[in-house]
Amino acid sequence: MTVFATMRRAAVLGGMALAAIALSGVAFAHKTKLTVYTAIENEQLEPFKKGFEADNPTIEIAWVRDSTGVMTAKLIAEKDNPRADVIWGLAASSVGLMAGMGMIEPYTPANAAALKPIFKSGKNPETWVGMDAFLAVVCFNTAEADKNKKPKPTSWADLVKPEYKDSIVMPNPASSGTGYLTIAGWLTIMGEDAGWKFMDALHQNVSQYLHSGSAPCVQAAKGERLIGIGFDMRGATEKTKGAPIDLIVPKEGLGWEMEATAIVKGTKNLDAAKKLADWASSLKANELYGKYYAIVANPTVKSMPPNYPADGEKLMAKVDVDWMAKNRDRILAEWTKRYDGKSAPKAK
């Protein structure tokens, strides 16, 4: 009796287990898992994933997120056996580099025509499509400025004044993409000769070249430094959290970079990847980008996230992305020769 009862219970349990496995198998078969490599900010991951999955219920996004440098190195190292299906939110210069290495599957997403021309690779079909732009702005700590009676700068030229001696931090262009776009911006606006002369003068006021594009505005926000030159979005979020900083767009214009979407060549989920590329260029997606960035690819989206500097878009330097890529090694070698090695024993 008890034996039968036990057996019956076991059979029922077993059946339920089987059914559960079968069901999950069915569910699994329906959902395509897309591995997406990204460098977008942590707080954006959840909304972006939800936004896409709501419109594409059969596809599931699995993120791998780290800083731009780490993700770029990882993608290139995995070149012979790619693990990512899609890149969604990585610096366009990185994606451009990969396109040059034949790592990108060319595809013009459904909504590409509606986007601003500079937000596209310009190839046919497109290798990548831009999402939003970020700028290398000046983050200025007003609390420290009041304490030490320092005036607020409004231009790059202001930053070389002696009163800012040792109070500026900026990213090291040899270790940070933001650092490189900053100096490429200067070289574009001022021309090579004047640009290097400006950096020579600025070097006298720079107390440190940091290894990250976020760090300068964070340090300015926390009063470690008076002025940080770096990633605008980081400055804006710090200000929202209560940091006493102003974000300044220098009047001469400034360097900038985009985040981009691209399909990785060799993906086993090409159809799903194309759906993501389509969605990432849609108006809906652009509205989502607009919650975090002031400048997005779709011209109809008018956005102004809290504490963003106004009129950044007007002052974006006319940088030539190809020129930036081709001259990178030369510029970095020159920069390193001038400022990197000898900057260490500065103590007097």
């Binding site: 190195a73 190292a77 040899a174 993409g177 976020s214 926390k222 470690e224 980081r234 970095l332 020769k337």
Partner: protein, 565 residues
């Protein structure tokens, strides 16, 4: 070789029995495992040093351009400079601390011992953050150091904190084994205290001192986490690797710098060989353990010394703990627990923490078995010198490899389409293997040291009784070495909880680790949350260590009773 062959009597040939063959086969297998988890991945990156960016072979061209770039060469000098200074500070400091723990009568000895371990539980991010809070431009004591904390001074202070427990652990082991008869004899002969210290104590700890110096030197050389946060403009080789690989995706040049960094490892390997050859067993069967007797002046002095060092360690930890509770440094110092709600700062939230714990347990289990069995095979196999040398070298390599180089090497090797092991890639298993490989050297050294303490008589007796070696291993060797085995397991666990530089390249969507999350959170500017995650990691490791101490007491009572007789 010829000497060994000619002097080998026929009796020995009989002794090359099935056991010997099995052991040799074991050594070969073990060498293959090390080759797969250390040698080949390393080579697959370092080989890029001889290629240009497009993968064409260019010979030594990259090396030539490296050594002719003054900025890069300066970094090499900076690295040597900062490593030498840290070694010269840490080793004496750790020596006196270890001396106090083993040779004097301290009140609350267990507490001092516990505090000395704290830095090992912390991600290298923690001292950097704490130093900024303490001595940064907004720090509480910024006036104290008379200059900027960013740069040489900052690196040195943070490295002292970070390396101190490693050196102390090695030196405690070295000083714990001493023969009281030597001291009695010296005393009877009327030798002065200084003379006894110089002629008995120091020589006895020589191997430990040299090991500690080598470990500290290479740790400072290869660590990049501290240099990145607090190094300022002080360029070192480890940050150069970062610039080349992360900043410029120049794997070739990164490989060259990585190769240059291997030089200290090669040196360490050679020094170790020489020292080991000269080492004589300290603890013979007749030795009488040295038990320190109370002596007021000395004990007071060392209690004071240990208190000062402990306060230094606790100040850094305490600053980080307090920093983790601050709302917005330095403008809103009110306290909050919100920084511990990691979901707000990293999408993986607390998941990354549980991944870390899982990974750390995996590394502790897999790594301990591999390290102990491997060290046993390598120590107890007779002759077979070449292969054993290869194993010893492969076990030494990881110490000098920056995690970044090993991590990328793992991508190139384990992700290669024609590698039959590529199913491991992007799993938790690859993180476990990578971590074990990364921390191989110290575990291997610990196991080797423990095995050297056991009289080879055991094997001889077992062999003459026709007991197979594996049974001697299971019944005698492993139980005797249990304390060392537990030490290795704990060492792997705590390091797996804090490691960043290598695993940052290897995690998949569902295997992100807490230590990596802490770095990401810090990057995003939320310093307090990063400090909070570091504190959670410290607490976890400290709790595991506390369990270990309890287990040790229990096991020591049961299995180590023979030591007391």
């Amino acid at each position: 070789m010829s000497l060994a062959a000619s002097s080998r009597p026929p009796i020995l040939r009989i002794a090359v029995s099935r056991d010997d063959l099995m052991m040799r086969l074991g050594v070969v297998l073990f060498a293959v495992v090390l080759l797969v988890i250390v040698g080949l991945p390393l080579w697959s990156l370092l080989a890029k040093g001889f290629e240009d960016r497009d993968g064409k072979f260019v010979g030594l061209a990259n090396y030539v351009s490296y050594f002719s770039t003054p900025a890069l060469f300066d970094s090499a000098l900076n690295s040597l400079h900062v490593s030498a200074v840290c070694t010269l500070i840490v080793v004496p400091l750790a020596f006196f601390y270890a001396y106090a723990l083993t040779r004097t009568v301290l009140p609350v000895r267990w507490l001092f011992q516990g505090i000395s371990l704290i830095p090992i539980f912390a991600p290298s991010l923690l001292p950097g953050l704490a130093l900024v809070y303490l001595f940064g431009n907004q720090g509480f004591f910024k006036g104290l150091i008379g200059g900027s904390i960013y740069g040489f001074d900052g690196i040195v202070i943070a490295q002292i904190f970070y390396c101190f427990p490693h050196a102390t652990l090695i030196l405690v082991t070295a000083l714990a084994t001493a023969d009281a008869r030597l001291y009695e004899a010296a005393d009877a002969l009327g030798a002065s205290k200084l003379r006894v210290f110089c002629t008995v104590t120091l020589p006895g700890a020589k191997y430990g001192l040299i090991s500690a110096a080598l470990v500290v030197f290479t740790m400072v050389m290869t660590d990049f986490g501290i240099a990145k946060v607090i190094g300022g403009n002080f360029n070192v080789l480890a940050t150069d690797v970062y610039k080349q690989v992360i900043g410029q995706q120049n794997f070739s040049m990164g490989a060259v710098v990585g190769m240059v960094l291997l030089a200290p490892a090669a040196l360490a390997f050679l020094v170790d060989r020489v020292v080991q050859r000269k080492q004589v067993a300290l603890l013979t069967a007749r030795a009488v353990p040295l038990i320190p007797k109370p002596k007021l002046g000395r004990d007071l002095f060392f209690t004071g010394f240990c208190t000062v060092v402990s306060v230094g360690i606790l100040a850094i930890l305490g600053m980080a703990a307090w920093g983790s509770l601050i709302k917005y440094w330095p403008y809103n110092l009110s306290l909050t627990l919100a920084n511990y709600n990691f979901t707000n700062f990293d999408a993986s939230g607390w998941d990354s923490y549980f991944n870390s714990v899982e990974m750390a347990i995996g590394a502790a289990v897999f790594g301990t078995v591999l390290m102990f069995v491997g060290a046993w095979l390598n120590e107890k196999t007779r002759e077979f010198f070449f292969m054993r040398g290869v194993v010893q070298f492969l076990a030494f390599l990881p110490m000098a490899v920056p995690g970044l180089v090993l991590g990328l090497g793992y991508i190139f090797f384990f992700n290669a389409p024609n590698n039959p092991l590529n199913f491991l890639y992007a799993t938790l298993a690859i993180l476990v293997i990578n971590t074990v490989a990364h921390f191989y050297t110290v575990g291997h050294l610990t196991a080797t040291t423990a095995l050297k303490q056991i009289d080879p008589e055991f094997e001889s007796v077992s062999a003459s009784l026709k007991v197979p070696v594996w049974r001697t291993f299971a019944r005698v060797t492993a139980p005797i070495c249990l304390p060392a085995i537990l030490d290795i397991a704990i060492y792997l666990f705590v390091n797996a909880m804090t490691t960043v530089s290598s695993v940052i390249f290897l995690y998949a969507p569902d295997t992100k680790l807490a230590s990596v999350a802490a770095v990401n959170i810090e990057e995003a500017g939320t310093t307090a949350a990063a400090a909070a995650l570091c504190i959670v990691i410290v607490i976890t490791s400290a709790a595991v260590k506390a369990l270990h101490v309890l287990a040790d007491r229990f096991l020591l009572g049961r299995l180590q009773a023979w030591r007391r007789r």
